[in-house]
Symmetry: C2
Subunit: 137 residues, 2 copies
Amino acid sequence: MDNQEIRNAGLKVTLPRVKILELLENSTQRHVSAEDVYKLLLDKGEEIGLATVYRVLTQFEAAGLVARHNFEGGHAVFELDRGEHHDHIVCVVCGKVEEFMDATIEQRQREVAQERGFEMADHSLIIYGRCNKHKEA
Amino acid sequence: MDNQEIRNAGLKVTLPRVKILELLENSTQRHVSAEDVYKLLLDKGEEIGLATVYRVLTQFEAAGLVARHNFEGGHAVFELDRGEHHDHIVCVVCGKVEEFMDATIEQRQREVAQERGFEMADHSLIIYGRCNKHKEA
DNA sequence: AGATAGATGAGAATCTTTTTCATTACGAGT
DNA sequence: ACTCGTAATGAAAAAGATTCTCATCTATCT
């Protein structure tokens, strides 16, 4: 359960941490900003300081529990890391985000890194486009 | 020449714009933040306000003269768009940035977007890793 | 239960970027 | 080249996101 995941991360099992993790697991939105988390918790009657939300999300990221993404727009969004790696495709009109995984791309990335003497640690791929509802005529 | 590029963007040819474009063309660093541009200009004795730097870079981006990247770390970096599209590979230890272009990846991205009903407009791919000088034993 | 190291909350501080507004400069037309 | 209207600039304030400070509180270990 959650508590164990927090403990495994070397963190004390505190109410803010449990609530934030729960929220990430149950939220309908996969990608939430720190501000989102803060407000969603407020809506549920949980008074957790914004500074704590930032701290906890950063700790969860360090522990590999959540991933932080720098989409366009200046602020970071977080999502629960459910083990399955994936990339994102974002509609530039409505902001809808879909996830995908493509083995060919994954493989080529590894090769490209190697060809340049790099040892790949991670990557970030975001495709921007217009979704079926917002394609141009 | 530069002036024509600025004019083509529908912008007046002003001293700040010319100086910023020149700097982007001649800088040894390919990826510079707005703050970098501001300071580099100061070093050259050009007193151009930071607000103007932001405004001009945003205008250049809209005109397709420069590309804006959201690497990790909260602030955006800009680079002159020389027509040739490319992606980036960044060393997580020293911050070194190399550019690359891989036709296979480009092609697959287009296909992935299509398979999901998207019309690809742009994309951002950043590989993070350790360069040859910082690989683990 | 008590001690202690770690966690929290509130607000201040910091950093990046945008906005406001008064002043200045480009460039079209003469 | 000169004038004028519009767009551009600079400085400072504002806004937005994130981090830090520090006094207080609380898991966890004994």
